[in-house]
């Protein structure tokens, strides 16, 4: 994270714009795309000029976090009596001096708003005005390097090689007695966590406590409510969460169904490819961006349910329970780092003692009432696919044009939708059987939110930025693959013979890793 602040002097037209100019220089150096720089500069310069034209003095703070830039310009000026009027194009109160210089066209605030992904303005007359503009970045060099929420505990690994073979993108290697995650290939799908029996692969977020529930909202996966066994009703879990002191409890399912509705509407009215793929599972988005870049145009341009939730709720006052590392990665790649993320297990450990203490208080009515509408059927135009293997198969079909009669495809990396995440305890089929839409009396905030930035193909599979060099490497890889025995045994630490060949060509391994090649040399085959 980079933070910078610049002082802006009001009325000084000679030195006006220098803060923006300095910011531009910084952005160029870290490799921000030039189109984005233009947008950022429009927002920064207009905001800076607002201070110069209207106020005595002000400050510009720039915060450059992973994937976004936040520009905040605060002044000690006269304030704006009527914001709606000020936001109108053509409305200006600039002085004749400023107008003579070409300012005061009444386009400043509208221009900032148009250039920003998130735009906020606060003002009070006589005190000053503060403008905050957030713009999402696509850092060219950092691209793809910060998306991962898995970590490795090598000391627990017993080298069983299960994870190597389970990984759908071949992102794992076994080196020096423990698994290594090739970040550029990992899609955060939990396949490896699912098969690991020793706990060597874990998610890298482990908030065990909730700092201050009083003022915060909590977003909980729908599956969480049916994790506490047959005696605890879904409503009881909801009540306990409220008892913990949260202001609001939001089941993520609310946002998932809002997204589903929006995607169906998008498929009916706007989309020109079939099937439209719902961005409900961030892990599948990663998979598409890595392995199926041709399907990026099929993705419906919406935020994931959790991202949508956090664009509505205040990220600073929200605890997120994520049963899946990809949810967290998706959040962190586009959101401020202020979000508190915890695993369902950590929350369960807080909830369970309360359940025990209040055992028997669960009123009869709640316990007796069957979970109404327990089979959550998708609408007829939606094909739900779950489990990473099935998802890969179905995406291959889509790529080959064999699924053109399906309007909407809703792929989930885990089995049974998100109920099958290995970070949950209950059997996914049973949890889903017990699950029902939790009826909450408060007005739901859930809605689908459009993405303002496109999906990008990840460079995961690319061998070289230069195409000729990449082709050379590719032919070398296939040449090497032919030498290896093709048993895909994993003993070398790579999941398949061809991935070992790739590792060798990319300088990540040597030929000696293959145990069979050595035997051949010795003549003992």
């Amino acid at each position: 994270m980079i933070t910078e602040s610049y002082r802006i002097v009001g009325g000084n037209f000679e030195r006006a714009g220098l803060a923006s100019l300095r910011l531009k220089d910084r952005l160029k150096r870290i490799g921000v795309d030039s189109k984005l720089i233009r947008r950022i500069m429009i927002a920064a310069y207009e905001a800076e000029m607002n201070v110069v034209i209207h106020a005595n003095s002000g400050n510009m703070w720039v915060r450059l976090d992973r994937g976004l830039i936040e520009i905040e310009v605060k002044d000690e000026g006269p304030g704006i009596p009527d914001i709606d009027q000020a936001m109108q194009e053509g409305f200006s109160t600039a002085s004749p001096v400023a107008r003579a210089l070409g300012f005061g066209a009444g386009m400043g605030l509208p221009n900032i708003k148009r250039s920003s992904d998130i735009f906020k303005i606060e003002t009070s007359v006589g005190q000053g005005t503060s403008i905050r503009s957030t713009i999402y970045l696509q850092l060219q060099d950092l691209h793809g390097s910060t998306r991962n929420s898995l970590s490795v505990k090598s000391e627990l690994c017993n080298e069983c090689l299960r994870c190597l073979h389970a990984c759908p993108t071949g992102a794992l290697r076994l080196r020096d007695g423990g698994p290594i995650i090739l970040q550029h290939l990992c899609i955060d799908c939990t396949s490896c966590i699912d098969v690991c029996r020793t706990g060597a692969l874990v998610v890298n977020y482990a908030n065990n406590t909730i700092s201050q529930p009083g003022n915060t909202s909590i977003v909980v996966p729908t599956a969480f409510f049916s994790q506490c066994g047959p005696d605890v009703s879904l409503h009881r879990v909801y009540e306990i969460l409220m008892e913990l002191g949260f202001r609001d409890v939001h089941p993520r399912g609310e946002w998932e169904s809002a997204l589903q509705k929006a995607v169906i509407q998008y498929a009916n009215e706007e989309a020109n490819v079939k099937p439209v793929i719902s961005p409900v599972c961030p892990s599948v988005i990663n998979l598409i961006e890595t392995r199926f870049p041709s399907l990026i145009e099929n993705l419906a341009p919406f935020l994931s349910p959790l991202q949508a939730a956090l664009s509505v709720l205040d990220p600073k006052n929200t605890v997120v329970v994520a049963e899946c590392p990809s949810q967290r990665s998706a959040l962190l790649s586009r959101c401020t780092s202020a979000v508190e993320v915890m695993t369902p297990l950590a929350l369960l450990q807080i909830v369970l003692p309360l359940l025990m203490r209040n055992a028997g208080k669960d009123n009869e009515k709640n316990r007796a009432s069957p979970p109404s509408g327990r089979i959550i059927q998708p609408p007829s135009e939606v094909l739900q696919v779950s489990g990473i293997r099935s998802v890969m198969q179905i995406l291959e079909k889509v790529e080959n044009g064999l699924l053109c009669d399906v309007p909407v495809l809703e792929p989930y990396a885990c089995g049974e939708g998100c109920f099958g995440s290995p970070l949950l305890l209950e059997n996914p089929f049973y949890a889903r059987y017990r699950s029902a839409p939790v009826h909450i009396d408060h007005y739901t905030l859930a809605k689908a939110v459009r993405r303002t930035y496109p999906f990008y193909p990840r460079e995961g599979l690319r061998l070289d930025t230069d195409m000729t060099a990449a082709m050379k490497k590719l032919s070398k890889i296939s040449e090497l693959t032919r030498i290896f025995p093709g048993k895909d045994c994993g003993r070398c630490g790579a999941p398949t013979c061809s991935s070992l060949a790739e590792d060798i060509v990319m300088g990540r391994a040597t030929r000696e890793a293959c145990i069979y090649l050595d035997c051949e040399k010795d003549g003992r085959r």
Partner: protein, 127 residues
């Protein structure tokens, strides 16, 4: 017989130097971009409009003879600015433009006539 090949090139263009001579503009700073191929013009007297619409391929035509125009050019990577009505740019402006390699030319005509002449040069063969 001449063929119009401009569609291959993606549109008409003319070297800034040549254009400046044809329009009859006076050059104050040559800048880095004197040999730029001008493909279009962004004209206006409102700073906000220039900021949003200016681009690195276009000549900025404006009557705003002040230093902020150089700053906007820097921010938006504008290569060259054409001022109007034979105004004399201030020393400060020229110094800043020179430091950043931005070309400054001044046309003897007003906005209407200047843009008309440039248009003729680019799209009607200068006749």
């Amino acid at each position: 017989m001449e063929f119009d090949l401009s569609f291959i090139d993606g549109g008409a263009w003319m070297k800034l130097k040549e254009l400046s001579e044809k329009v009859g503009a006076k050059t104050y700073t040559e800048g880095r971009h004197y040999c730029l191929e001008v493909r279009g013009v962004c004209a206006g007297d409102r700073m906000s409009d220039l900021l949003v619409n200016a681009s690195e391929k276009e000549l900025l035509v404006t009557g705003l003879n002040n230093e902020q125009i150089i700053l906007v050019s820097q921010l938006m990577d504008v290569p060259a600015v054409c001022l109007l009505n034979s105004t004399v740019p201030s020393e400060e402006l020229i110094k800043k433009a020179e430091a950043d390699g931005i070309t400054i030319i001044v046309s003897p005509y007003g906005m209407f006539e200047t843009c008309g002449r440039i248009y003729r040069c680019l799209f009607c063969g200068g006749e």
